[in-house]
Every structure is written in C-alpha cells, then in structure tokens.
C-alpha cells in the first residue's frame, strides 16, 4: 500500500479547462504523480470516484439532481475539498440561467424534452457542502493548484490572493486601460491571480477571477456610467464567468433596477 497522500479530481458541469491546470503541467505532472497518489482523475485515467482521499479537487457546478447527490459522496470521502475555478466556486458562466425566468426558458421548444433532466439553476459547490478552500479563476492556473497541493500537504491552508487586479497592474507598471483608453475595466473589483493578463494585453479585465476583497462595485458602476455605458451594458460587465458570485450578482441587479 502506498503511503503517499491521495488526491482526486472530480468533474461536474464545466468545460474541463481547470483540469488542464494539472494536464498542462508537463514534466511536473510526473513529479506530482511521484509525490501524491492520484486515485481518481477520469480524464487522466484513474477512475475510483468512491475511494477516500486526502484532497479532492472539484471542477464544475451543480446542475442536475444526480450531481446534488454525487457531491455529498465526494465530501464524505475527502479530508479536504478544494474547488477548482469559477464554475465550482461561483456557478460559472452557466449560472446566467439562474437569472432567466424558468417559464421563459422552458417555453423554448425542442424535440424530446423528456430525455433531458436539468435543474433550473447552476450553483457553486459551497451551496451544497462544506468547502475547505476555493481556487478562483476561469481557468485556474497550474501555479494555483500546485500551491494548494503543497500547502495542504504541509498541513496549512493555502495562501489566498484577495487583492485587486488593479493593484497588480500598479505593481507591474502596466498603463491603466480605463484612464488612458476609457475601457470599462473590471480590474478595480476583480481578484488578482491572473497576473493582470488583460490590461497587459491592452484590454479591459472581464472579471474571470471573481470579486476581490472589499470590492466597491457601486463606485465602479458609477465610473462605467461616466464612460458612457448604459445600465444594461454595466449589468453585463458583472454577468460573466462569475455572474452568480454574490457581489457581482448584486451589482448587476442594482444597475438593472
């Protein structure tokens, strides 16, 4: 029997992109596999969803009745449960369905509705079970997942980045795209972790790492208004990959009122 710590990677409703934080590790993937035992990671090969593990990484949001039950079993079998990315942490882009009226959605006609069973919401893992640590991002990076594995194996909680993208830009001497180009940048309210990728590329941040600590969405919305955005356009800035994160969802609601 192996005494290496055991990890599992579970998938719910998602694009599989966060699992790539592991699969894109290159040679480090082999190093990781030597230090931990990967007992369940269907895309990489091992399928043992019910085996107890030290750390379970969960990608994807909850959108079906079956998944409501499956996440309970994952929790029961895991010492630590870590969410992987925007879908698992906030419900993902697909949580936009939560805002549509059920009647409006179901009125859409299709051939054989009885074949498909889906909940009318897409929800974050923490809405259903206790989550020990959340990794934000759409997608999360290899640096984040390796950092989490390393910290948890040492028995400490991973260091959480809650700073704003804005601060990252200032630290990196990136020219502000909102000030100089009047781009409706989400940097002032978005959590860093991406390395201020979008402003670095001369474009507006679109909030894929979710809300930062003490995000002042109200003030940013007013600033967007000053840039000439209509209320509906402002709302849409918040309704992206983290549309159901409470801070962003409230900001969108407030603008639409």
């Amino acid at each position: 029997m192996s005494t290496r710590p055991r990890i599992a990677v579970h998938k719910f409703a998602s694009c599989d992109g966060c699992q790539l934080a592991f699969l894109n590790l290159g040679e480090l993937l082999l190093v990781l596999a030597a230090h931990v035992e990967i007992v369940h990671f269907a895309e990489a090969g091992p399928v043992n969803p019910e085996v107890p593990v030290d750390i379970a990484f969960v990608e994807g949001s909850i959108t079906t009745r079956e998944d409501l039950e499956r996440i309970q079993r994952v929790r029961k079998n895991s010492d630590h449960l870590v969410t992987l990315g925007a879908c698992a942490t906030a419900g993902g882009l697909q949580a936009l369905r939560n805002l549509a009226s059920a009647r409006e959605w179901s009125a859409a006609v299709y051939a054989r509705p009885e074949y498909i069973a889906s909940l009318d919401t897409s929800t974050a893992i923490a809405r259903h079970v206790k989550v020990d640590f959340e990794l934000w991002g759409c997608p999360v990076s290899s640096r984040q997942v390796l950092g989490a594995v390393r910290a948890l194996l040492f028995g400490v909680g991973p260091l959480e980045e809650r700073d704003k993208v804005c601060l990252e830009c200032k630290r990196s001497n990136i020219v502000c795209v909102m000030v100089t180009r009047r781009e409706p940048c989400m940097g002032p309210v978005t959590r860093t972790g991406c390395g201020a990728l979008c402003p670095r590329f001369g474009r507006d941040c679109y909030g894929c790492y979710g809300p930062a600590e003490a995000a002042n969405t109200e003030s940013l919305s007013r600033r967007f208004e000053g840039l000439g955005l209509l209320p509906e356009q402002i709302a849409r800035r918040f309704l992206g990959m983290n549309a159901a994160a409470p801070e962003f969802a409230e900001a969108a609601m407030r603008t639409r009122r």
């Binding site: 790539l20 895309e43 990489a44 859409a108 069973a117 990728l197």
Partner: protein, 432 residues
C-alpha cells in the same frame, strides 16, 4: 462457448476522454443488441446564454464551451461575426489566427496522443503509468504539448481561455523579440514532431477496415484551419452557409448531445477526415514524413487517426515557423468594427473536426440567435457505427473485460470532447 451467453457491459465513467460519457453494450450470443456511447454531461445551454449579448462579448463567452479547444470556438465565432458585419481584418490578422490555431492543434493533439490514446495501444491505464516504461516518449509528448501552449500564449496570454482574440483582430500584437524566441522554440521542437509521426505509425494499432464518409474543410491553397468550403469524400462541396441544408441534427434518448447525420448517415470529422481530404495540401516536408512512416493514406483503418494527429502536429510546427519567420509588428492589431443587423456563418477545423457557428445580430450588434455545431456531436453516430463494426470484426467470444477495453479504445480513438458536445439542448426545467 455457448451461444446463449448474455453480455451486458456498462462502463459508468469513461476514462481518458474530455467530459462525462458512459459505454453500454448488450449482446445475446453472437448478436449485438445495443451498443451506445451514452453522453450524460449536463448541458450548459450556451446558445441561450449568448442571446442578448454584445458581439464583442462572444469570443470570451464561447471559449468557455471547451477548455481544451477554446481557440477553435473563438475562431469560428469571430469569422461568423465579421462575415455578418461584412468586414475583412486583412492579411496580418489572418496569418496570426492561423498561427494561434497551430498552437491549439499542437497542444490538443499532443495531449490526446500521449495522455489519452497511446496508453490503450501500449497496455497502460494512464500516461503516468506509461511513463514508467516509456519515459522519453511521454516526456517528448508533454514537451510538444508545452510548445503548443506557448504558441497560444504568444497571441492569447494564456493557453486556456486566451484573452487576445477580438472581433476584427487581436487586442495586442506580439513584439518581434517574443516572436523570435517562439520561432527558436518551434525549430527546436521540429525533430520531436518528426519523430512522433514515426512513433505513432509504429504503435501496435489494431487492424480495422471500415468505410466512412469523411467531411472537412478544403481551401484553395493551404491545409484547412480557418477557412474553406465544406467537402466530403462522397463528393459534397458546399459553402458554409449551406451547412444546415445538408446536415441534420436529431435527439436520441441516451445522449445529452445531438446526433448529426449527412443524407441520413453517419460521417466522420477530425484529423483523419481532414488529412484524407487534403493530402495534396500538405507542405512537402510533412508529406515526406508521412510517406516514410509506413502507413499509407488514404486509409480505411480508423486507428490511423493517431498518425494523422501526429502529422498535423508536424504540419502545425512547420506552418507556425513559416508564418512567424516573416513577422513584422503592424501599427494596428485590429480593424474597427461597425455592427449592423445580419446573419453570419463561421466554420473552422477544431482539433477534433469541423466546428460550425451561425449568429444572427440585431441593429446594435447584439446576438438575436446563435447556433453552434461542435465536432463531437457530428462524430457521435460514426462512433456508434464503428463500435458495432469493430465488435463484429473483433468477435463477441472475448471476455467481458476484453470487449470493454476494445470498445473504450474505439471511442477514445475519436478524441471525443463531451464537454463541447453538450451545451446545445434547450433547457428542460426540473425543479429541485
């Protein structure tokens, strides 16, 4: 061997595929009653989510359909949107989009060959196990995957859900220095890509002779990625706009993905179909490598898909070097976009095959309706046809375990991307 044997094989979670799929096989004696690739990945309803969004938001949204081929979704989308608005972003943008697509082909194909498919042929459960016995080959594969990712990052900032693509071009043009460094990396990867073609051709692949109708893009001059007409080995040759008149989608009970058929029959998309229909478009060094590898194309053996993938990696490395070698930084990396109402079609060759988009816009350039047909739903009927034929060839006298392994190998050979395949169905509300 009793002819009364009842076979009931159920693999609830298929390993080494993208997304959630299951296999079901029921047979009685030597007769297959049912064989299904059951797709249960929950639909995410992307086409509905896009309604009402601004055209400029589409590239970042559709990327989220698939983490493994986000570039493909962005490319089909920007093409469709630009066609709807009647704009042409010009030669530089066109060239850089091809470079970025090369990166995704390299990344996605290398991932599939090494992490998903090759363990089947060499008798391992995963690439990590395979690395114990074949360390150099696995490392080479992971390194090629890394080169592909780096190429995507050059233009997109990150390889999963890149941020560089926009309607009209790119948010940023890389500096000549970055491009030079990339070209050196690509040149250094050429011997690995060459060796990979020979290695895949030498794998102990099962023999299987099948007839299938290949469908892919075809371009006047080059190997197809971002442009072309839709052609088939059966003689089809149509414009993108006529796709819906020639291909139909239907819904089946065992799948949350739609089934696509052409003239009522299954068809093949993906690297093998692409290669067979475009052998005369291969750059000479790739054609030479392919001729030397010992596998003859066109082929009727579906398992030669892995060789086709390796050949396309080599092609993508060569193409990226060719295009980037003449690089100069433009003054503008994008052209201005003036939206108006209209309909636009886009089709490109995703790593897994033809990816077709259609968007309808209102006068403000907001999405009125969207339709997306991904490669895996097009291949689904072909996969089931292949499963049936392969099992008949293989013989049902094998043990359950052997039959299961053979079926999984058949499915994985298509590199199904199940996350991609299942975002189309409209919502059926079942209240929690």
């Amino acid at each position: 061997m009793s002819t009364e044997r009842q076979i009931a094989i159920h693999v609830p979670v298929l390993a080494r595929v993208e997304g959630e799929g299951a296999l079901e096989l029921r047979a009685h004696g030597d007769r297959i009653e049912d064989v299904h690739l059951r797709i249960f990945e929950p639909p995410r309803f992307f086409e509905k989510l896009l309604e009402g969004r601004d055209h400029a938001e589409v590239p970042d949204m559709v990327a989220r359909i698939c983490g493994i081929c986000p570039v493909a979704y962005q490319m089909s989308a920007v093409q469709a949107i630009e066609r709807a608005f009647g704009i042409d972003p010009g030669d530089w943008v066109r060239a850089m989009r091809r470079v970025m697509y090369c990166g995704e082909w390299i990344e996605s194909h290398a991932l599939h060959i090494h992490l998903l498919a090759a363990p089947d042929f060499l008798g391992f459960g995963s690439a990590i196990e395979m690395a114990q016995r074949h360390p150099a080959e696995v490392r080479r594969g992971l390194a090629l995957q890394g080169v592909g990712n780096e190429l995507i990052r050059l233009l997109g900032g990150r390889s999963v859900h890149p941020v560089g693509v926009c309607v009209g071009g790119f948010h940023r043009a890389p500096s000549p220095h970055e491009v030079d460094r990339m070209v050196s990396r690509l040149r250094a990867a050429l011997p690995d890509a060459e060796a990979l073609v020979a290695w895949t051709a030498g794998l102990p692949l099962p023999r299987s002779e099948q007839t299938f109708n290949s469908v892919a893009l075809r371009h006047g001059k080059e190997y197809p990625m971002n442009e072309g007409r839709i052609v088939s080995s059966g003689g089809l040759d149509i414009d993108l706009a006529d796709y819906e008149r020639n291909f139909e989608e239907s819904q089946v009970a065992h799948s949350t993905a739609l089934f696509s058929l052409h003239e009522g029959k299954p068809y093949l998309v993906g690297p093998l179909a692409r290669l067979q229909l475009n052998l005369d478009r291969l750059p000479p060094p790739v054609a030479r490598s392919l001729e030397a590898c010992g596998v003859r194309f066109p082929t009727r053996n579906m398992y030669h898909s892995i060789v086709a993938r390796a050949a396309e990696i080599l092609l993508a490395v060569h193409e990226a070097i060719r295009i980037l070698s003449g690089y100069s930084r433009p003054t503008m990396s994008r052209i201005p976009v003036r939206p108006h109402s209209g309909v636009g079609y886009g089709a490109t060759e995703a790593p897994r095959g033809l990816l077709w988009h259609r968007y309808e816009f209102d006068g403000d350039g907001r999405v009125r309706a969207a339709r997306i047909v991904p490669p895996t739903s097009q291949n689904q009927a072909r996969i089931e046809e292949d499963l049936r034929q392969s099992l008949e060839e293989y013989g049902l006298a094998h043990s359950d375990d052997e039959l299961r392994r053979r079926c999984e190998t058949v499915i994985r050979n298509y590199d199904p991307c199940i996350s991609c395949a299942t975002h189309f169905l409209q919502l059926h509300v079942s209240r929690a």
